[in-house]
């Protein structure tokens, strides 16, 4: 009997050595995502009208002679321009780097004229798998317990969810944002747990992933502030004096990137957001906005623009892109006007925030289909394979913004205890974790607010993408901390010692 037990323990030991939790999590995610995005009929996200931003400036076009489907079906094949490309990038973004990489691989391994969307998927896939590995490693290091497999399973359940991996086969910037956030988070936690002898590789990874993340989309500009909160934690690193210069320089670059990303938003792009902040924000969640508009210096007739998209899905009373609207409406208000309006109408703003809260955990983009036309699926059909986490979170998460605020306060208080304890004992894990969690919570709270003020409820689920990612990261961190008894203080080998 003891022999059997011995054999059992040996087997487990071997298993742990061959398949440590990070590797296991990565392999399972690789299988799940690979099945979705590579095996035909492939799955992905259909074009919602935004793909052109990433396509034309990178030399990709809709193949002629084929019916290009918006919203309903995923398009797998695109054309690659052969001659001089006159299309300039419409926005300042780091996303083209990834698209370029995909085009590069496509040209080497597949075709010089036809682009297969799966190469975009491949680039996102590789980036993502590395992030999964690092994240699981960060959550489990340095403990060697069996329950770390539980943490790995949780990572797979949360971040292997198809609502995230579907994004890979698309020209959206979200898949890179997801992976980069995971890199940024994991490198910071690994720093906190002093994973490697040398600190600089992790610092570098943190800096690069954060910078690229902020630059990937103009709406990420405000994240620079949140990540500055996170980076402040680095000031508590031991031997901080020696690296002081680099860290302050890093924070400076972070803020400059944020400002640049915000400042370099294209004019057209800014108009879209400005228009929809009005038609999908100011005019909604209220009875008749006519009077309120007139009071704030805008012709009351524009109240009739309620719920209009900048790019009409099918038909519209007026094309918002025409100069008439620019001259008579868009020139009459700006960000300041909208903020002032919401301050005067707090009830309406509260309703809008609850609307955002209702969407906060819905990560699957319901507006576009997940299947190709060739698969025979109905238009706009939604995938249900491995969407357990997003479905449960979407259904059960309370739909009140006030709840989110309370939750944030509670979480900050919990991690503040660890901060206090570790600071007293001269350890850094709890300190850095506190800054990481606080930074992520500012994303969780402020991203929905910025989305509403900046773009109304249009494409809300996509605009607040960073909010669920942040909360998911805090969630897995919280659970792993409880499982490894390191919530209130730094990890000590052999369990609780306090």
């Amino acid at each position: 009997m003891p022999k059997l037990k011995q054999a059992y323990f040996r087997a487990i030991k071997v298993f742990k050595r061959i398949l440590p939790p990070p590797l296991l999590a990565m392999l399972i995610c690789a299988g799940l995502a690979g099945y979705l995005i590579f095996i035909p009929p492939i799955n992905g996200l259909a074009d919602n009208g935004d793909f052109y931003r990433a396509m034309y400036s990178n030399g990709i076009y809709k193949l002629l002679g084929t019916h290009y489907s918006y919203f309903s079906y995923v398009t797998q094949h695109f054309g690659l321009m052969q001659y001089y490309n006159e299309n300039q990038s419409v926005i300042f973004s780091s996303q083209p780097w990834f698209v370029h990489l995909a085009v590069f691989f496509n040209k080497i391994f597949y075709s010089k004229t036809v682009f297969d969307l799966r190469f975009m998927g491949l680039v996102n896939y590789v980036l993502y798998l590395g992030a999964i590995y690092l994240l699981t490693d960060a959550l489990t290091f340095p403990s060697k317990r069996l329950r770390n497999y539980l943490i790995a399973a949780l990572v797979v359940f949360v971040f292997g969810d198809s609502s995230f991996t579907l994004y890979f086969n698309s020209f959206f910037a979200e898949p890179q944002m997801l992976s980069l956030t995971m890199y940024s988070f994991a490198s910071f936690i690994l720093l906190a747990r002093q994973r490697y002898q040398h600190r600089w590789p992790l610092l570098l990874l943190f800096a690069i992933s954060t910078l690229v993340l902020i630059a990937s989309k103009s709406q990420n500009a405000p994240l620079a502030l949140s990540f500055t909160v996170v980076a402040l934690g680095l000031l508590f690193l031991p031997h901080f004096q020696a690296q002081r210069l680099y860290i302050f320089a890093g924070i400076g670059v972070l803020l400059v990137t944020g400002v640049l990303t915000y400042k370099l938003i294209g004019k057209d792009f800014a108009y879209v957001n400005q228009y929809q902040a009005f038609s999908h924000g100011v005019l909604t969640q209220t009875g008749d906005p006519s009077k309120a508009l007139a009071k704030n210096g805008i012709d009351e007739q524009y109240a009739l623009m309620k719920d209009q998209d900048y790019y009409a899905k099918q038909f519209a009373t007026i094309q918002p892109s025409q100069s008439y609207v620019e001259k008579n409406l868009l020139s009459k208000y700006g960000f300041g006007w909208i903020v002032k309006y919401y301050l005067q109408h707090p009830k309406q703003f509260g309703k809008l925030m609850d609307l955002a809260a209702a969407d906060v955990m819905i990560t699957q983009t319901k507006a576009v289909g997940d299947y190709t036309k060739a698969s025979g699926a109905s238009p706009g059909k939604q995938l249900t394979f491995f969407t357990g986490y997003s479905s449960i979170a979407g259904a059960f998460f309370p739909q009140k913004f006030a709840f989110n605020c309370l939750l944030a306060v509670a979480l900050v208080m919990v991690y503040a205890v660890g901060f206090y304890n570790d600071l007293k004992h001269g350890e850094i894990e709890g300190v850095l974790k506190f800054f990481q969690v606080t930074g992520l919570l500012t994303i969780f709270i402020f991203v929905p607010i910025i989305a509403i003020v900046g773009d109304g409820d249009a494409d809300l689920a996509k605009h607040i993408f960073m909010a669920p990612v942040s909360l998911d990261l805090i969630f897995v961190l919280f659970v792993s901390d409880i499982l490894n008894h390191r919530l209130w203080h730094a990890y000590h080998e052999g369990g609780p010692t306090t």
Binding site: G49, Y70, D288, P289, S290, K291, D299, E300, Q301, Y302, A303, L304, M305, K306, D307, D309, Y311, A312, K313, Q314, F315, A316, T317, I318, Q319, Y324, V325, N328, L329, A395, F396, P398, Q399, K400, A402, F403, L406, L407, V409, A410
Partner: protein, 525 residues
């Protein structure tokens, strides 16, 4: 005495008969005019696709059903199904490379019209005339007496006809600006064959081209233009629109407006105001054309949505006593199967306006249909600013096809004043739909809108338009039955919120108490 009466009667009969005889179109009238318009190239580089669109609109206004094809897409034998063929040369530098078409056209017995350059020898032969190519000249287009004239832009080449047969009809003359001052015919009709050396969508050229085409197809008429204010939207400056309609009413000028509308948010004050201004227009001798919406990302299956939207527009209008007399639209809508079927055919009166810069089709088929009346929208500027020529607006001739002279909606007092000034320079006897027996009909879903002699009929019943907001029965909004699951989740949010708030309060209290207990432990008693 009796003889005198008889004599008078005889004279009257002869006069009537001769009048009827002369009134008869001289060319062959097609029984069901179905015409094939064949063009060589859109020539987008020169923006000449607008000319094709203008010819299409013009033909619809004339009342012939036009199908448009690029010459390259022509298949042998297609012409058999048509009563007329129009060749339009848009890019004279290239050849019309379709032998099938050239052969079929040669054998074709119906009405033939050539617009633009590169008139072939065979076509000239059909016109029983000789071709003459004129190089590097400037012409004045004028009528026979020279009382109406317009200086044309310098032309590199122009193919004109000489040695016309006696039965040839000439519509307008091209007078060379060179020393010779020779004149050449512009619009030419010989039997059932016609020729226009060039085409322009506005100005005197347009008027004469329209007359040539209408006459060739036996549909020429005399129409007073309809004054039309275009690009009105619910977002226009309502105060200015109201002032404009009052001004036109005071000046006794009948008019029309072409407006888009919204199908939702109709309970808003803004919509009520919009409807009130439109009712005022109806009460001030104006009529309303419902403009088709702007197009975004449509597909061939957008038809149902379009039909619902149009019905919704019309019903909301009707509930507010706004009764459109027709539908106004960009010309290309008539070239699209979906737009035609689900929107345009609801009305029998259509106002055809120029195309936007980049038309978006749902299902383009280029098979325009005809309507009881299709009015050609002609921008007023093309009648005012005739460079070195007669101001057509001042001369105020009538038009050979139903025409609307259009002004863009002014959006400030300044542009309103400008419009008034421009209007005062036009001497037209504006068409008045109320007095001239216009009978229009729109059928939308279950509702029928009719307009006869200035009276509006809704579902056959005459309606008086009140100045104030009509008290229509507003249907109570149908509330979707709330699922218990949804109710649960809505409840759950609130319950959790309260729970957390209480817990949070207790938590803070405990910290406070705990701290006091802790501090008291160290206090000396």
């Amino acid at each position: 005495m009796k003889l005198k009466t008889l004599w008078r009667w005889g004279l009257l009969i002869v006069a009537l008969f001769s009048f009827w005889y002369w009134g008869q179109p001289s060319s062959v009238e097609a029984a069901t005019s179905k015409v094939l318009l064949v063009y060589d190239s859109q020539n987008v580089a020169q923006n000449d696709q607008t000319k094709i669109a203008a010819v299409q609109r013009l033909l619809t206004s004339v009342g012939v059903r036009v199908t448009t094809k690029a010459a390259a897409d022509y298949r042998a034998g297609t012409l058999k199904h048509y009563q007329g063929v129009i060749t339009m040369i848009n890019w004279p530098q290239t050849d019309l490379n379709n032998a099938d078409f050239v052969r079929d056209r040669q054998r074709f017995k119906g009405i033939r019209l050539h617009i633009g350059q590169n008139l072939t020898a065979a076509e000239a032969q059909g016109l029983q005339a000789k071709r003459q190519k004129l190089y590097h000249q400037q012409f004045t287009l004028q009528n026979k007496s020279g009382s109406r004239h317009q200086l044309l832009a310098f032309s590199e080449t122009m193919t004109t006809l000489t040695q016309l047969p006696a039965k040839a009809q000439t519509i307008g003359w091209l007078k060379s600006q060179s020393v010779t001052k020779k004149t050449y015919p512009y619009g030419t009709i010989v039997g059932n064959q016609g020729y226009l050396p060039y085409f322009s969508a506005g100005g005197y050229s347009f008027v004469l081209a329209a007359q040539t085409i209408a006459q060739l197809f036996g549909k020429v008429g005399h129409y007073q233009p309809l004054l039309t204010i275009t690009k009105v939207t619910p977002y226009s400056n309502m105060a200015v629109l109201d002032r404009l309609s009052r001004y036109l009413y005071q000046q006794s000028i009948p008019f029309a407006i072409s407006t888009t509308t919204v199908g939702s948010n109709v309970h808003f004050k803004a919509y009520q105001r919009f409807a009130r201004v439109l009712r005022n227009i109806e009460n001030r001798g104006g009529v309303v054309f419902l403009k088709t919406p702007a197009v975004g990302g449509v597909t061939a299956s957008s038809g149902k949505e379009l039909a619902t939207l149009m019905d919704n527009y019309l019903i909301q209008f009707a509930q507010n006593q706004v009764f459109p007399v027709g539908i106004s639209t960009s010309g290309y809508w008539n070239q699209d199967q979906v737009y035609r079927q689900y929107a345009l055919t609801k009305a029998d009166h259509i106002l055809l306006l120029p195309n936007p810069a980049s038309p978006v089709y749902a299902k383009q088929d280029n098979q325009a249909t005809t309507f009881k009346q299709a009015i050609y929208g002609l921008n007023a500027t093309s009648l005012e600013t005739v460079r070195q020529g007669s101001a057509l607006g001042k001369l105020a001739d009538d038009f050979p096809v139903p025409t609307a002279v259009t002004f863009t909606m002014p959006n400030s007092q300044r542009s309103l004043n400008n419009l008034k000034r421009r209007l005062s320079q036009l001497n037209y006897q504006w068409f008045n739909p109320a007095t001239e027996g216009t009978a229009t009909k729109i059928v939308s879903g279950t509702a029928t809108f009719q307009y006869r002699n200035g009276t509006y009929f809704l579902n056959g019943q005459a309606t008086t338009i009140t100045a104030t907001q009509p008290h229509t029965k507003t249907l109570a909004a149908v509330k979707p039955e709330e699922l218990w699951v949804n109710r649960f989740f809505k409840m759950q949010g609130t319950v959790l919120l309260i729970f957390f708030a209480i817990t949070f309060g207790v938590f803070v209290l405990f910290i406070f108490l705990g701290r006091r207990v802790y501090v008291n432990m160290f206090k000396r008693k």
